[in-house]
């Protein structure tokens, strides 16, 4: 399957992931979650929450009882746990290993948390476990990379990282504007 099609067929959208996590957080904090609570937490209208919950109910991730209280099904609970784990792993990779500023790492991890496949997340966990298995060596490994100064000559043919694509990757990135939010 083409990757971009797979992206469209992802289990849940970014917005849906946040609805599920809001319900989970409210249940943990207050023991109950209503549409109004989710709306306040996400800063959106109740109408919006109700509309967003429809596909989640249909998918068997969320249930609403006769008192209009929301709860996560077993599948919904498992999905929230997986999303939160992926966010944590991504945040660690970005901030602790790649040295991305914590605030930016949080934003990027949030964008990716629901898109990352389980397979990739498992490999990521394995990598972080490897670093954690010998903390001193792990720190040295990361520091060695962080201290590495790239003297990029903008010559794709001479660069082992760019040879395959025959284009200067650094140049491509420096010319790219940060994507703006879709309107």
């Amino acid at each position: 399957m083409d990757t971009w099609k797979e992206f469209d067929q992802n289990v849940i959208t970014h917005s849906a992931a946040h609805h599920l996590m809001a319900i989970a957080d409210l249940l943990r904090q207050h023991g109950y979650a209503r549409v109004s609570d989710v709306a306040r937490r996400l800063g959106i209208t109740r109408g919006s929450v109700s509309i967003s919950l429809r596909p989640l109910k249909k998918a068997g991730l969320v249930e609403q009882d006769e008192n209009r209280h929301l709860r996560l099904t077993e599948n919904g609970t498992a999905l929230v746990a997986a999303i939160k784990t992926k966010r944590h792993l991504m945040q660690r990779l970005l901030a602790d290993v790649l040295g991305v500023a914590p605030a930016q790492a949080e934003i990027d991890a949030c964008k990716l948390e629901h898109l990352l496949s389980n397979q990739t997340a498992e490999r990521l966990l394995s990598f972080l476990r490897f670093l954690d298995s010998d903390p001193q060596r792990g720190r040295e490994l990361v520091r060695g990379w962080q201290d590495y100064e790239t003297a990029c000559g903008r010559e794709p043919q001479a660069c082992p990282s760019c040879r395959e694509v025959a284009e200067c990757l650094a140049e491509k990135l420096s010319g790219a504007a940060t994507p703006r939010r879709r309107t």
Partner: protein, 141 residues
């Protein structure tokens, strides 16, 4: 007198204002998303819903102004192109109308003791209840 301060009352009303404006936008979008012959049957109902909901938003805005404040509108809404049949559109409308009704009922509980405001919210609840009932009847028929 309500236990809420004037600022809190205005916040409550702003939330209702957002519910109504957003519902109006959803009605407008739905009215133009229904396909086929259903558009002829359900389209006018949805357009009427749009007009009535915008009127409700104006009523709320006037109430906010009467309290000496200016309405604040915070919306986060995306309505992707999605053609649907009449029944789906009515079910969607019922979902956000019920949510609006519950929002008014919540507000009523919060403003308890402020008789004029209570009366205002009760009137809105009556109107919203009527909307919900009409949509339910259309979905049964």
């Amino acid at each position: 007198m309500s236990a809420l301060s004037k600022t809190e009352v205005v916040q409550e009303l702003n939330r209702l204002f957002a519910e109504e404006v957003e519902a109006a936008l959803r009605y407008l979008h739905l009215a133009n998303s229904v396909r086929g012959t259903d558009h002829l049957v359900v389209g006018p109902v949805l357009k009427q819903g749009f007009q009535e909901t915008i009127q409700h938003a104006e009523v709320i805005a006037r109430k906010i102004r009467a309290l000496g404040a200016v309405p604040e509108l915070v919306l986060d809404i995306a309505l992707p192109p999605e053609s649907m049949d009449g029944k789906e559109a009515l079910q969607t409308a019922l979902t956000f109308e019920e949510a609006a009704l519950e929002a008014y009922q919540d507000t009523l509980r919060r403003v308890e003791g402020d008789i004029p405001l209570e009366e205002f919210i009760r009137t809105q609840i009556a109107v919203e209840s009527e909307h919900v009932l009409e949509l339910k009847q259309l979905l049964v028929e």
